[in-house]
C-alpha cells in the first residue's frame, strides 16, 4: 500500500490519482484483540499479588483474632452511626477551613507580589509569616492553639478548641497555598503586566484584572492536591477533643477494645478522598492539554 518512489517509476511523473472524493478519515475503533491481552495479564497479576497476600494473611494462625479485632461486622455496624456523625463534622470543618485558607492565602500572595516600594515592609512580614508557618508541624500548632488559647479564656474571643484548632490549620495551610498562588502569579508572562500598565491600569488593577485570573487558572491542579490533603488532615483536630470521625471511632475502641470502628472511619475517608483525587487527575490532565494547545 505504501507509495514508494523507485527509480523506474519516479513519483513526479506519475499521474496524480485525485478523481472523486478523498478517502474517508481512518476509523480508530477500540481494538479489543490488541487491548485484551495486556488487560488480561494486568488483571491476572493484580489478582495473584493481592490474592496471595490475602491468602497469607487469612491463613495465618492469628487470622481469626485479627478479623475479630479489626473487621468485626457487628462492631462496625454498632459504631457506624457515631463515626458517620463524626465524619459529618469532618466535612463541615474541611469546607469551612478550606474557604478561609483560599482567601487568606490569596491576601498573602497578593501582598507578596505587589512591587510598589511602600509595600516592602508588608512583603517582608509575609515572607516571615510563610517561613514560620511552613516550618512548624501542623500538629504542634493545633495543640498550641486548640489547648493553649482556650486555656487563657481571653475575654471577647471564642473559647472553643474546635475554633482555635481550625484557626491553626488555616494559618498553617495558608502558608503553603500562598506559595502556590505566588508560583502561579510568577508564571504569567511579563508582557501581560507591560500591556496592562501601558493601558494605564494601576498596579492593583493589573493584578486584579490581568494577572490573578490567569494565575488562579494555572494553579487549580496544584490546589486540588492541597484540598485532598486537607480533607484528611482535618482529623488532626481529634487530638484536641473535637468529636470527628477519628475521635468517635477512638471512643468506641476505648469502651469495647475493638478496632473495627477505626476501619469504618478509614473507609469513610477513602470514600471521600478517592473521587477528589480522580477529579484532581482529571483537572491536571485537562490543564496539560490546554497548555499544549496554546503552545502549538
Amino acid at each position: 500500500m505504501t507509495q514508494k518512489a523507485d527509480a523506474a517509476h519516479p513519483r513526479a511523473v506519475q499521474e496524480p490519482v485525485r478523481r472523486g472524493p478523498p478517502p474517508p478519515p481512518p476509523k480508530r475503533e477500540f481494538d479489543w484483540r490488541s487491548a485484551a491481552i495486556p488487560a488480561a495479564i494486568g488483571t491476572l497479576s493484580a489478582v495473584i499479588v493481592f490474592g496471595s497476600l490475602a491468602w497469607v494473611i487469612t491463613s495465618a494462625e492469628q487470622w481469626p483474632r485479627i478479623k475479630l479485632q479489626f473487621f468485626s461486622l457487628d462492631a462496625m455496624i454498632a459504631s457506624f452511626p457515631r463515626v458517620l456523625q463524626g465524619f459529618w463534622v469532618n466535612m463541615q470543618v474541611w469546607l469551612t477551613v478550606l474557604g478561609c485558607i483560599l482567601i487568606w492565602a490569596l491576601v498573602l500572595a497578593v501582598v507578596r507580589s505587589l512591587r510598589a516600594p511602600w509595600f516592602a515592609p508588608f512583603r517582608l512580614m509575609v515572607v516571615i509569616y510563610i517561613d514560620i508557618f511552613r516550618g512548624v508541624p501542623v500538629l504542634l500548632l493545633v495543640l498550641l492553639f486548640g489547648f493553649g488559647i482556650p486555656a487563657l479564656s481571653l475575654p471577647g474571643l471564642p473559647n472553643s478548641g474546635l475554633f482555635w484548632g481550625a484557626v491553626a490549620m488555616v494559618l498553617s495551610y495558608a502558608a503553603y497555598v500562598a506559595e502556590i498562588y505566588r508560583s502561579g502569579i510568577d508564571a504569567v508572562h511579563e508582557g501581560q503586566r507591560a500591556a496592562a500598565k501601558s493601558l494605564g491600569l494601576s498596579e492593583w488593577q493589573t493584578l486584579r484584572y490581568a494577572i490573578l485570573p490567569q494565575a488562579l487558572r494555572n494553579v487549580v491542579p496544584a490546589l486540588m492536591n492541597i484540598v485532598v490533603a486537607l480533607q484528611k488532615d482535618v482529623a488532626l483536630l481529634s487530638v484536641i477533643g473535637v468529636r470527628d470521625a477519628v475521635r468517635e471511632a477512638q471512643i468506641y475502641t476505648a469502651t469495647t477494645f475493638n478496632y473495627s470502628s477505626l476501619i469504618v472511619a478509614a473507609g469513610l475517608f477513602l470514600l471521600a478522598t478517592i473521587p477528589m483525587a480522580r477529579l484532581a487527575d482529571y483537572l491536571s490532565r485537562r490543564d496539560r492539554r490546554r497548555r499544549l494547545q496554546i503552545a502549538e
Binding site: G191, A194, A195, S198, L199, G200, Q214
Partner: protein, 249 residues
C-alpha cells in the same frame, strides 16, 4: 512653530551597569510618523518604554505635549492613556474576550459605563474588520487578527501618540499586510506615531523621518529618501546592507 508632541531630550538609560540609551534626543511633531530602525539590542524598545514610563530613564527629559512625562499632573495613569504601546507579541489578555480586552481600560481606568465603552469598542473593531470577533478569545484568532485587536485596544483611550514596537515581527509574512494597512489608515487620519520596524519598505513609504539607533545612540536622523538613498554613516550603510541581503528592502 508647532509645539512638539514628543520631545526626547538627551535621555540616558542604564540597565544596571549597562548603558542602553546614550544621550538620545528626538522630536516628533503632531501628526508626524517617525520610524526607529536599528539592530536588535540597540535600545529601540527601551526608548519606547521610556516614553510611557514602562521603565524610567536615568538622565534627561521626555516631554509629551510640552509636559515632562514624570510630571505629577499626569496623575497615576494619564500618561499611559495619552501614549500607548502596541507590542510585538500582541500581549492580549488570554482570559478575556476581544471586546473585554479593548474595553478594559475605558471602563476601569476612565470609568466609562460598560454600555458606552462596548458601543465604542464595537465601532473600533468594525473599522478594523474585526466586529464579528467581539465575543472570541484571542487564542481563536490569527496573529494578524490579534495584532489588529491590540491596536484597537491601544486606541480605545483616545491616545495622542501610538508607540508601535515591531508589531509585524511575529507575524507570518502573508499577515503583515493587513496590519500595515491599518497603520497607513491611522497615518492618513493624522495619528502621531513612533514606529519601531524592520519593514524597511514600509518605513520608506510611511515615515516622515527615520532615525537609526546604534548601540543606544541615534547615529542618523533623516527623511526616508535620504536615509535609505544616501546614508551618511558607515554603520547605517552596513546595517541597511545587511537588511538588503536578508531581502527586506
Amino acid at each position: 512653530m508647532t509645539k512638539p508632541m514628543i520631545e526626547i531630550d538627551t535621555v540616558t538609560k542604564y540597565f544596571g551597569d549597562k548603558l542602553v540609551l546614550d544621550r538620545v534626543s528626538l522630536t516628533v511633531n503632531p501628526h508626524e510618523v517617525v520610524c526607529l530602525i536599528g539592530a536588535s539590542g540597540s535600545g529601540k524598545s527601551t526608548l519606547l518604554r521610556c516614553i510611557n514610563r514602562l521603565v524610567d530613564h536615568d538622565y534627561g527629559t521626555i516631554r509629551l505635549d510640552g509636559m515632562a512625562n514624570d510630571d505629577p499632573r499626569f496623575g497615576k495613569t494619564g500618561l499611559q492613556q495619552r501614549a500607548s504601546i502596541v507590542f510585538q507579541a500582541y500581549n492580549l489578555f488570554p482570559h478575556m474576550t476581544v471586546l473585554d480586552n479593548i474595553t478594559l481600560a475605558p471602563r476601569r481606568v476612565q470609568g466609562q459605563p460598560r454600555a458606552e465603552a462596548e458601543e465604542r469598542g464595537r465601532a473600533v473593531l468594525g473599522r478594523f474588520g474585526m466586529d464579528s470577533f467581539a465575543a472570541s478569545y484571542p487564542e481563536q484568532l490569527s496573529g494578524g487578527q490579534q495584532q489588529r485587536v491590540a491596536i484597537a485596544r491601544a486606541l480605545m483611550t483616545r491616545p495622542d501618540v501610538l508607540l508601535l514596537d515591531e508589531i509585524t515581527a511575529a507575524l507570518d509574512p502573508e499577515l503583515v499586510g493587513e496590519v500595515l494597512a491599518i497603520i497607513r489608515g491611522l497615518k492618513d487620519e493624522g495619528m502621531t506615531m513612533m514606529i519601531v520596524t524592520h519593514e524597511m519598505g514600509f518605513a520608506r513609504e510611511c515615515a516622515d523621518r527615520v532615525a537609526f539607533l546604534d548601540g543606544g545612540v541615534i547615529l542618523e536622523e533623516e527623511t526616508p529618501d535620504r536615509l535609505f538613498g544616501a546614508p551618511q554613516e558607515p554603520r547605517t550603510r552596513a546595517f541597511l546592507q545587511r537588511i538588503v541581503a536578508s531581502g527586506r528592502l
